[in-house]
Amino acid sequence: MSGNNIPPKKRIKDLTFGEKIYIPEIVKGLSLTLRTMFKPKFTMEYPEEKFIPAGSYRGRPVLVEEKNGEERCVACGLCSRVCPALAIEVQAAETDREKERYPEKFEINMLRCIFCGFCEEVCPEEAIVMSKDYELAFSNREDAIYGKDKLLVPVDQLQDRIDFLRNYK
């Protein structure tokens, strides 16, 4: 075996003399605590205080609601097709609007969603985007399926993300 050539490593737990006498290390530790006590705090006191992420954050996917109250989505089903977790179900139907197709039903199963953002990436209409919402709690499977009522979010509230997508994607 060639292992003979390797010099024996110094073991990390071998303490120096200074460490062995204990007291200076205690003082070191206490002084760090004391210094940090007077520095500004980084901890956020959630839920009293809320974290507001940047535009690049991928929270739960939502549907963009235009100013006139209509969804941008034309129910093409590409998000549903690309979704690696099969979280999205879309049922299209016909409408009198100029874009003749709209989602009669649009459901995202938040238990399946993995927040990958593929749905947003594939969307040809910029109709589904990742929001800043990370607060997802439910106590049963049915509640975890978000329908259009929960998914539609006014475009104003999503401007950060839309700007991010336009600039960086």
């Binding site: 034309v74 129910a75 093409c76 089903g77 590409l78 549903s80 097709r81 099969l86 179900e89 299209a92 139907a93 016909e94 874009k99 003749e100 197709r101 459901e107 199963n109 238990l111 040809p124 209409e125 499977r141 399926i145």
Partner: protein, 561 residues
């Protein structure tokens, strides 16, 4: 045989064949939009341009007759750049609305844009705008923007449906398709234009926006609308049939099917009156019961009658397997010779193209399977007469609403002491029945139909039931079918508690103390091929996708009900 060369490969051709036809026969697809194997050559799309040695310019493969020693190039620089240019022209005015378009996923223009286009457009001007959402007929919607003016639909109406309804109007980039004044696209074959339209200009109004094609599973089977037995594909999603499309079979229906078959032969499957589980009449009402209870009740009721007091009606709507087991059940379990089935002939339905006046899919099959009165047995009319006279007191009816065509029979059936039926939907006959067994529809079982030409063809299950599992049965599965769980709303499609008629009869025979040893339709067919001459040597693998012509057999002429 004469030969010519295409991309360095020598291929044979028959005299008179065009380049595109000869190439196709040899498994080489030359891209095309307007050419269709069953329509006349129009030559307007220019997509099939190929380079031919010693010809000064590129030629279209669809109208250039192949000649001995011809040297054709599909992959020369000239041919490739010509295809790129043609695609660029098509895409100038074609809207980019694939997300909205129903054709997406099965669109020739999409496919060719991927295969034969550079992927860039130099066109910066405004695209032309034409009429959208034009109702060309009761079942077909037209979108002028998407149309690439290939004229396939016009030629289809002129040449196949023999009913000239469509035409081009205007010229240049304003050209569009419309119906002749006062006309509608309403011939009995109109919806085939949706299938042959290479883009999404013509869409099926019944299926419009219902589902994406990539979300669906499709199963090769046979239309049950008439005795032609058109080869079709059943397209399903979430255990529900959403559309039927024709499947090519030159011997039966070529590329086509009629609108009646396409629209009216699948909606009963998920209709509200579908029978879910066996039912028994208790105090005048049909009440859902378990299978064992229904079998036991039917068996004890049937045993109360003498052999000559029971009659059995097979069905031209049921498969050969169902009818074969029915005949066996009637003769050996019930011991009756009063065995027949009802013919349903509608002379107004038939035509010279595909539609047959026999509106059942399996009249010949029922005859061949032995559903016929024995020597001293009554035929259908005899059975009706005997019921009137009180000689026959119990009747078993297989998958046929015999009152639908002939309401006068109501008084006759009312005289029966016992009426047992196998049916898929509650109907006029079930209203009088004492015991109702839920029969699987043609889209939920394996089996065979014999069409009016004497061709035996396979039907396959496209929908799962409590009895037939999608995965275990090896049925066609979409991605959603594969990965759906019971918690996914998109995988909770209704599964009916229904069984194939032959299986119901096997269960009933066992309740009556007699064993019919069949576990699957294929075993029934194995027995059929061993015991009926016409089916000799056949099995499901031999019948395969396109069916087999049975050896000529003497068949009784059909009798009107």
């Amino acid at each position: 045989m004469s030969k010519f060369n295409i991309d360095g490969k020598d291929i044979e051709f028959k005299p008179g064949q065009t380049i595109i036809e000869a190439a196709r026969d040899n498994g080489i697809e030359i891209p095309h939009f307007c050419w269709h194997p069953k329509l006349s050559v129009s030559g307007n799309c220019r997509m099939c341009l190929v380079e031919v040695e010693k010809m000064p310019k590129l030629v279209i493969a669809c109208s250039t007759v192949a000649a001995e020693g011809m040297v054709v190039y599909m992959d020369s620089d000239k041919a490739i750049s010509a295809r790129n240019a043609v695609m660029e022209f098509f895409l100038i005015n074609h809207p980019l609305d694939c997300p909205i378009c129903d054709e997406a996923g099965e669109c020739k223009l999409q496919d060719y844009a991927y295969q034969h286009s550079t992927g860039e457009s130099r066109f910066v001007e405004e695209k032309t705008h034409k009429d959208k959402r034009v109702e060309l007929g009761p079942n077909v919607m037209f979108d002028g923007d998407r149309c690439i003016s290939c004229s396939r639909c016009i030629r289809f109406c002129d040449e196949v449906a023999k009913d000239a309804e469509l035409t081009f109007v205007k010229r240049g980039d304003r050209v569009t398709i419309t119906t002749f004044p006062g006309e509608q696209l309403d011939n009995p074959y109109a919806m085939n234009v949706v299938d042959i339209c290479p883009v999404g200009a013509l869409t099926n109004r019944d299926f419009r926006f219902k589902a994406r094609v990539w979300d669906m599973a499709h199963t090769n089977t046979i239309c049950n609308g008439c005795a032609r037995g058109c080869n079709i594909e059943v397209w399903t999603r979430n255990n529900e049939v959403l559309r039927l499309v024709p499947r090519y079979n030159e011997e039966v229906n070529s590329y086509w099917m009629c609108d009646h078959g396409r629209l009216n032969t699948f909606k009963f499957i998920n209709a509200g009156d579908r029978i879910d589980g066996p039912h028994m009449r208790v105090e005048g009402n049909l009440i859902k019961v378990g299978w064992d209870e229904a079998f036991a009740k039917a068996a004890s009721n049937l045993k109360a009658f003498g052999k000559d007091e029971i009659a059995f009606l097979g069905s031209a709507y049921a498969t050969v397997e169902d009818n074969f087991v029915a005949a066996k059940f009637a003769k050996s379990v019930l011991g009756t010779g009063h065995l027949d089935f009802v013919r349903h002939i509608d002379p107004t339905f038939g035509d010279e193209i595909l539609r047959n006046e026999d509106v059942t899919p399996n009249t010949k099959g029922a005859e061949l399977a032995g559903v016929a009165p024995s020597k001293n047995g009554f035929d259908f009319n005899g059975i009706v007469k005997a019921i009137r006279e009180g000689k026959i007191k119990a009747l078993y009816v297989l998958e046929d609403d015999i009152l639908n065509d002939n309401l006068e029979l109501e008084n006759v059936l009312a005289k029966l002491d016992l009426l047992i039926i196998n049916a898929s939907n509650f109907n006029k006959t079930s209203a009088l029945a004492d015991i109702v067994f839920p029969a699987a529809t043609y889209a939920e079982k394996n089996g065979t139909f014999v069409n009016f030409q004497g061709r035996v063809q396979r039907i396959r299950p496209a929908l799962a039931t409590n009895d037939v599992d999608r995965a275990l049965e090896g049925m066609s599965m979409s991605r959603l079918d594969k990965f759906g769980t019971k918690y996914d709303r998109w995988a909770q499609g209704k599964h009916f508690d229904a069984r194939s008629s032959w299986k119901i009869l096997v269960g009933l025979a066992s309740a009556m103390g007699q064993k019919l040893k069949y576990n699957m339709a294929e075993e029934v067919f194995y027995d059929i091929s061993n015991s009926i001459d016409a089916f000799k040597g056949l099995d499901y693998d031999v019948i395969a996708e396109l069916g087999v012509q049975l050896k000529s057999v003497n068949l009784k002429s059909t009798v009107k009900i």
